[in-house]
Symmetry: C2
Subunit: 420 residues, 2 copies
């Protein structure tokens, strides 16, 4: 008997039949003697519909230029009010279904729990889940059906966490109610060594360390939202990823490093196509030039990821390359052009035809030479590395996008991750 | 310059184009120097979709009798959570649209205003609108977009007011913020002497007294929800009914009796087909028998409307007839059969092929003979009156349903209500 959190995504609650299936999984846990909080996403498709409406509503009126043309982005606080309705609907429907099955349940919306967040509407950050009333209700044997993806921001306004935020809701709720574990039900049966759509020989991992999962998520693996892994790691919430449709087979446990016996040098391979590269040619090679470049980029809200500065050939100028997401490319170029006088570059070139491939593994710390295996493997396939960035447990390289599948497959074999 | 409340129903906000039209009407009021609270319903069709989902979710699981068969009604508190999402979405979308048009606006949900209600989920009653924060925001020039139909019940749970409840929200909000008037925008251009679909010569009323409107609404006129008129009357909120699509023509003002100059004996004619009639034959004609009948009916939640008890022919037994809504008929019959021993009737008959036709007018008080004109008019058309009920400002009769149109048209002419 334990208190557990369960989380179901949009495809798991896509219609009433599937919600009934979810209710049956919840009921099974209750019948095992567990106390349950279940976090739900919006029904698949609902969020997209609501987002489209908000974009449509934000368009300037047809009659002319009465509205502010620049304001084609919907008011973010009101965007949250509209979009949060999706999870509200699912939580009510699941509570109705559970009650109809004889399982006592009630819905809890973000502001009712409360799930306190920052004021950054549209991508708010969970700051605390002081769920005392809800915890009491759970202890009294009532299933708490929590609307995922939403919270309450300062000023008692509805906030949302950004796409995929329900994972984060689930782990934060698990931490808030002191759950023994958090089960993330999804449409895959666990975390794989890499994307099985690219590498059919990808293997499901029985366990993965929080730190590794954090790198996997932030480097492109889509199975869990990065922030959810951060919270799981911070609060040491044992978190399982498992399939809604085959809940009794497979699954992957996120756990402490010490709980993993077999430590290969590389645990998984992630990739991201959402990369763009900008190169500034012939910038002065002197102190302060980095600040002149990256200050304006930060002010423009551009998240610079990888950076490489060439060794100066003439002793006076150098080339500087950095990456950001494709969505930020235009903003980055605009910021640089606006500050051209301060930066003093000869030319700027850019491309979005790049991708980032990363190898991740806590075993890397104990195994020297892991990076050189990567570089050699890519070289053997004729793949040019444009930028490199490393941390203690990962190595990322920027390559031409057309080589992504080839690179991932070659590395998967090179690090002996292929299934037998 | 005044503070006003505006209300738009489901067809007025059916899609983004119409929401933009609503926003333009709101903007016009703001540009006139008014401070505005605008109450919105769910987009047409949304509520029906959500209600259907809740009913579907409440069905017992297909596999068998694991669920409680009797519980096919969705948990009412969770029903409210699901259905209230409809108005939440509209309020956010209208706020986005207004902001995009350069009109500062924010949405207010029932729990945020707050609109305090009773705990009768699904048909809660507004108990107060202590909207101090919202009033301050309005005074500071921000348009308050209020989600209609919803409130917050004891226990900080979302409640809804029952179908048509947004009218009530609007008038209660108008009273709560001390608005100078409440404009109810709808798909007709005012209150008519009777249903124009039955009587093409029906006339729009420039003004109608609160008391008359209350009778009209509760006796079948669908233009406003009864409870909204009650609140308008109680708080003396000048309330206008006008068309969203032709806002500058027509309209009807609900006002005090004294503000109406021309007082005809009859102001309007209402009808309701939602009537059922039950007759108990040969019940003992002695004290206490009414209590034996109507006590169990009240316990069963049946709202008995008209009652007629025949004069006893044999001095020992009598026949007793009463009406209720068609939806309550089966419950009423069950309650009577359960208490057959206490009531001691010989037989019970019932029919749903009846309708109620009512004449309403504050002028009735000053004009004797109004009722006899009604009875004579119906007799001339060969229409039999089954039950009669009267109050100071109305006379209602129960007739066979097939005569409804004929009766309404004949009475409309008899009381000189036909348009020239």
């Amino acid at each position: 008997m334990a208190t557990i959190a369960m989380k179901f995504g949009g495809t798991s609650v896509a219609d009433i039949e599937r919600i009934r299936h979810v209710a049956a999984l919840v009921k099974r846990e209750v019948e095992r003697g567990n106390k349950v909080a279940v976090v739900v996403s919006a029904m698949a498709g609902e969020t997209n519909k609501l987002v489209a409406w908000t974009n449509d509503a934000a368009k300037p009126p047809v009659e002319g230029v009465r509205g502010n043309i620049l304001q084609a982005i919907p008011d973010q606080r009101e965007y949250d009010v509209v979009v949060a309705a999706g999870e509200q609907i699912t939580s009510g429907l699941l509570a109705i279904t559970l009650n109809a099955m004889g399982v006592k349940a009630r819905s809890w919306l973000g502001w009712q729990v409360p799930i306190n967040t920052s004021a950054v509407h549209g991508s708010a950050r969970i700051e605390g889940v002081p769920a005392s009333d809800m915890t009491r209700a759970i202890e009294n044997g009532e299933v708490a059906v929590v609307a995922g993806f939403q919270g309450v921001a300062p000023g008692v306004r509805i906030s949302t966490l950004g796409r995929g935020g329900s994972d984060t809701s689930a782990v934060a709720v698990a931490a808030g109610i002191g759950a023994a574990r958090c089960d993330i039900y999804t449409d895959v049966d666990g975390v794989y060594t890499t994307d099985p759509r690219i590498v059919p020989k990808a293997r499901r991992l029985e366990k993965i360390a929080y730190e590794e999962m954090l790198e996997m998520a932030s480097l492109g693996a889509k199975v869990l939202q990065t922030r959810s892994v951060e919270i799981a790691m911070l609060h040491r919430v044992p978190t399982r990823v498992l399939s809604t449709f085959t809940p009794d087979v497979g699954g992957t446990l996120l756990c402490d490093e010490e709980d993993i016996v077999e430590k290969k040098p590389v645990t998984g391979i992630a990739y991201s196509r959402d990369e763009a590269k900008i190169t500034l040619h012939k910038v002065p090679d002197r102190p302060g030039v980095s600040a002149a470049i990256f200050g304006p980029l930060a002010d423009a809200g551009v998240n610079v990821d990888m950076i490489v500065q060439n060794v100066s050939e003439d002793g006076e100028t150098t080339d500087l390359t950095f990456t950001c997401t494709r969505g930020e490319l235009n903003r980055a170029l605009a910021a640089i052009e606006t500050h051209a006088k301060d930066i003093r570059y000869r030319a700027v070139t850019h491309t979005a035809d790049v991708a980032k491939v990363s190898i991740i593994g806590i075993g890397m710390r104990a195994h020297p030479g892991v990076a050189s295996t990567m570089f050699r493997t890519l070289a053997e396939k004729g793949i040019n590395i444009e930028v490199i960035s490393t941390s203690e447990i990962k190595v990322s390289v920027l390559i031409a996008e057309e080589y992504v599948e080839l690179a991932v497959r070659a590395l998967h074999s090179a690090y002996e991750l292929d299934a037998a």
